[in-house]
């Protein structure tokens, strides 16, 4: 069974800071991702077609995918945003039948262990401290390839929790205030 590993992954980046949006977009593009960057969680939900999801609680994930305008393979979002936070967005995605298997990564400028744990417990794949580095972005492909394999095998059970058993430690090499 061939994995379409060379077809581009589409990442949806969410950040209210336009400088950080520019940075994350550039970082992702240099890693050959296709990127859509938006400035709010509300806009992200629109792109994900989540509004439609509520109307069809009994749907299959296939039916829902037709309603998504664009297929999104990963969401990377800032934690602190006015209105809906990145954490709220993460929860909405994990509560959605059609979207819960999309890997979500959280970014934050603040190293708060309880915040990090809360996000990982809610199902975030990774938590990156800002400013995000190339080495952080390099960690994304494995999550995306894993999702793609899962899709192709049509596994019904979500295996994301496996990732959390590995020890997580924020990047201590950079000086943070």
């Amino acid at each position: 069974m061939a994995i379409a590993a060379d077809s581009q992954f589409h990442v949806l980046a969410v950040d209210d800071s336009r400088i950080d949006r520019m940075l994350i977009e550039r970082l992702l593009k240099t890693s050959s991702f296709h990127v859509t960057a938006v400035d709010s969680a509300t806009k992200a939900l629109k792109i994900l077609g989540l509004v439609e999801d509520d109307l069809r609680n009994f749907d299959t994930s296939v039916a829902s995918k037709f309603h998504q305008d664009v297929e999104v393979n990963m969401i990377i979002t800032d934690y602190c945003m006015p209105g809906m936070t990145g954490y709220d967005l993460l929860r909405k995605i994990k509560e959605s039948k059609s979207l819960k298997d999309i890997p979500v990564v959280i970014m934050s400028s603040e190293n708060v262990p309880s915040r990090i744990n809360r996000c990982l417990e809610e199902g975030a794949e990774e938590f990156f401290l800002k400013p995000v580095q190339q080495s952080d972005v390099n960690k994304l492909k494995p999550h995306l390839l894993k999702s793609r394999v899962k899709e192709e095998q049509e596994q019904p059970i979500n295996n994301k929790r496996k990732g959390m058993e590995e020890s997580y430690s924020p990047n201590k090499n950079r000086q943070k205030m």
Binding site: S17, I19, M22, P131
Partner: protein, 151 residues
């Protein structure tokens, strides 16, 4: 003046900016993201940073002039500025923001006012230093040379 001399000036000026703490490693990360497909990336980001700086500093100033001062509002602006300065490698600006946030938490108006002044000062220094650096860059590129990068 020939290209070699412009390049030396560029290298020296950039090195001194790092030595004096104006810039940190994140600025190098920005330079690494610049290539043929995005040849003006650093200048674009920094230009955006200048605009954000002026906007945010103004917002802080206005927030501190209110009676009574809403320190959470001031802090929100400082938090944003801390984030963007960290993202571009503006180390001295970022450090003032850290101190500034502490004074906001303590609701210390005098401390906040001092930090605002410091921020304006640091931003002004950074801006003129970076503009000098980009000026040298343009001279080099106009003369057909390439920009020396710090390893």
């Amino acid at each position: 003046m020939d290209v070699i001399q412009w390049q030396r000036q560029h290298r020296d000026h950039q090195a001194s900016m790092f030595r004096e703490g104006f810039l940190d490693d994140q600025f190098i990360q920005l330079q690494k993201l610049q290539d043929e497909t995005s040849p003006d990336f650093v200048i674009e980001v920094i230009t955006m940073f200048f605009a954000d700086s002026e906007n945010l500093i103004n917002n802080m100033k206005q927030a501190l002039e209110q009676t009574p001062v809403d320190f959470r509002q001031v802090d929100a602006h400082v938090h944003q500025y801390k984030g963007s300065s960290a993202s571009v490698g503006a180390a001295r600006v970022k450090n003032v923001c850290v101190t500034f946030r502490n004074f906001c938490d303590a609701q210390n108006l005098e401390g906040c006012a001092r930090c605002l002044q410091q921020l304006q000062h640091e931003y002004s220094l950074l801006k003129s230093n970076l503009q000098h650096l980009f000026g040298l860059q343009q001279q080099i590129q106009a003369a057909g040379g390439s920009i020396p990068t710090i390893e």
